[in-house]
């Protein structure tokens, strides 16, 4: 079966920075794939290679089986990219923007389809407005519409939630999920762990240009060996004090190496006659996965690193 997206040993260096280091993975048609990583991990560089905006020093990339370097006309026809930055042509109205975009893909009379896309993105009433007059959120929707105007089977969204209010974010999530259900392959980059956890089937974690982890979301989450248990009690058994990661009054966050250690914890509590007021197993999240895979924190609040983006 042809992969929707395939990277084969892709490397790229910018000066002293090894932006991408031997990246290889495949995305099957119909997948909802998340590319996760802190700012500067190489996410934008990697997806820019798909659209031909960045060229790798070595390695190859394919969209629907078409090499992005040697068969770029076909690879680009199969690819829709929603860029991270809100950009637009100030000379054009919304409808013109979409007509031109369709035209750049050789589509002659795409007006019916444009009307539909506008409708789906709640832009119908803005169709004849100049791009300059639109709000930031509206402009971002137009970017999504532009990426869809040639009906690409593979859609890449670069940080769709960056700088977007909660309402639009959820509307976009619903919309993207919809596209995925209807057969589009989605590749989404994000540094919001919540976004990847909510939407994606499979997730690749990038760290300093390398794939630190790649698996189904559930497997990644269950791969976190250390389990966190939140115990509410008067005190913690002496033998377990070293395992306490956080203390908030009578609430202790305790780390178990393996789940079987739970019995030992209970036995220790019983032996010391400590009454359990509450005991909860904390759900592991992608932050923990990332921590375990890379040994470093995810730093979700880091400033936008813009250097890596392709202009």
């Amino acid at each position: 079966m042809t992969c929707a997206v395939e990277f084969q040993a892709v490397s790229r260096r910018f000066g002293d920075l090894q932006a991408l280091d031997d990246i290889s993975f495949q995305i099957a048609p119909g997948e909802f794939f998340g590319l996760l990583g802190p700012n500067g991990a190489g996410k934008t560089t990697l997806i820019s290679i798909l659209g031909g905006l960045v060229r790798p020093d070595s390695g190859r990339a394919f969209v629907m089986g078409h090499d992005v370097a040697t068969d770029y006309l076909n690879s680009r026809r199969n690819l829709g990219v929603v860029p991270q930055e809100v950009v637009f042509d100030p000379f054009l109205t919304v409808r013109e923007t979409l007509r031109f975009q369709a035209g750049y893909f050789g589509l002659r009379s795409a007006d019916d389809w444009i009307d539909e896309v506008l409708h789906h993105l709640s832009l119908s009433d803005k169709a004849d407005k100049n791009m300059r007059t639109l709000s930031g959120g509206m402009k971002r929707r137009v970017l999504v519409a532009q990426a869809l105007v040639h009906k690409p089977p593979v859609i890449v969204l670069d940080e769709p939630s960056a700088g977007v209010d909660v309402e639009l974010r959820h509307a976009l999530w619903a919309f993207i999920s919809r596209l995925n259900k209807e057969g589009h392959t989605i590749l989404l980059t994000t540094h919001y762990l919540e976004e990847a956890e909510t939407l994606c089937d499979r997730i690749a974690m990038l760290k300093s240009g390398r794939v630190a982890a790649l698996d189904h979301k559930q497997k990644l989450l269950s791969s976190v060996d250390a389990k966190m248990v939140r115990l509410t009690a008067a005190r913690v058994p002496d033998s377990w004090l070293a395992r306490v990661r956080r203390t908030e009054g009578q609430s202790f966050l305790i780390e178990l190496q393996r789940f079987e250690e739970m019995e030992m914890l209970l036995a220790a509590l019983r032996a010391e006659n400590i009454a359990i007021k509450d005991l909860r197993v904390e759900k592991s999240d992608l932050e923990q996965v990332f921590l375990q895979m890379t040994g470093s924190h995810f730093e979700p609040n880091a400033e936008e690193a813009r250097g890596e983006a392709a202009a």
Binding site: P83, V87, D89, L107, E116
Partner: protein
């Protein structure tokens, strides 16, 4: 793993979706491009005749649309991009012809100074506007970041080249025609040029050369400032000092020779030959030099575009 192959989009997945807001597969069940499909100009909804406004049936290939956008860009602000340069050329014509008509003799007095001046002004307008169009369009797209829209599209380097250069030539020629028509009030004999073929050839080739130089300058510049430097310190002096306002034979020997190093001199001289059948050097030499420059620049510009110079990193 969700292994929905893209074909499933054609088979009515919309039917069980009650939400009317996102019936995403078009009701007709639009065909997704499949791997291996590479047709250009696929028509999404053939039943509807194409509209006649903004994006009509004008184009078939992706670059046609890029060309059309380039034309629309200067048409939308045509007062600034076409009318203003015509006005400028007419001011030069008014002032110079008034001041110098009785003092300067060209081609041994067979041609009045005013008539001599007009073809030079026309050509200067063609050259400057062809350059301005490609260079300013590229730098604007670069600054606004919207170049990404056609960089992501299946447009070949030749497509980029043709779209930009032809639009630049078109603007140059439109301004040139404007100057010519307005100048007929001052020199009606120019209505009947001696050899129109030369006019067309040099107008097109000269416009193309400058449109290509504009492309290179626009690609090279990182900001408006750099482009303005290129325009004000290279293009403007070279067009002004290329024999627009005088016959180079009236210059001292040193400057006469320097003028022959200016490539724009040959464009204007050849262009002028088309009007009067007289020129400072042979029109064939002019044509050979301008044609060679055009060919070399075509190759050079294409090579830069094919490499993705300053466009793809």
């Amino acid at each position: 793993m969700n292994n929905v192959v893209s074909d499933s989009m054609n088979t009515g997945t919309a039917s069980n979706q009650a939400d009317t807001k996102f019936p995403f597969p078009a009701p007709s069940g639009y065909p997704l491009p499949q791997a291996g499909e590479g047709k250009e100009g696929a028509d999404l909804n053939q039943k509807r005749p194409s509209r006649h406004d903004a994006a009509g049936s004008l184009y078939k290939k992706p670059w046609h649309m890029l060309f059309y956008k380039e034309v629309l860009r200067f048409r939308r602000v045509s007062f600034q991009t076409v009318a203003a340069p015509v006005m400028m050329a007419l001011l030069y014509l008014l002032i110079f012809s008034h001041v110098l008509e009785s003092r300067v003799s060209v081609f041994g007095g067979r041609v009045s100074y005013t008539a001599f001046l007009v073809p030079g002004l026309i050509m200067m307008s063609v050259l400057q506007n062809a350059f301005a169009n490609t260079s300013s369009s590229l730098i604007q797209s670069k600054m606004a970041g919207n170049m990404i829209f056609f960089l992501l599209a299946p447009i070949t380097p030749w497509g980029f080249f043709l779209a930009y250069v032809l639009a630049g030539v078109l603007r140059g020629v439109l301004v040139g025609i404007g100057v010519w028509l307005a100048a007929l009030f001052f020199a009606p004999q120019l209505w009947h040029p001696v050899a129109p073929g030369w006019i067309i050839a040099f107008g097109f080739l000269g416009g193309a050369v400058l449109a290509m130089l504009g492309m290179i300058a626009g690609l090279w510049s990182e900001k408006f400032d750099q482009l303005a430097t290129f325009q004000n310190f290279i293009i403007m002096p070279m067009t002004f000092l290329s024999g627009v306002f005088y016959s180079v034979h009236s210059l001292p020997d040193f400057w006469f020779k320097v003028s022959h190093l200016n490539p724009f001199f040959y464009m204007i001289d050849g262009f002028r030959y088309g009007f009067f059948g007289e020129s400072d050097v042979s029109p064939w030499l002019n044509l050979a030099l301008v044609g060679t420059a055009c060919a070399l620049l075509t190759w050079g510009t294409w090579a830069l575009l094919a490499r993705g110079w300053k466009l793809r990193i």
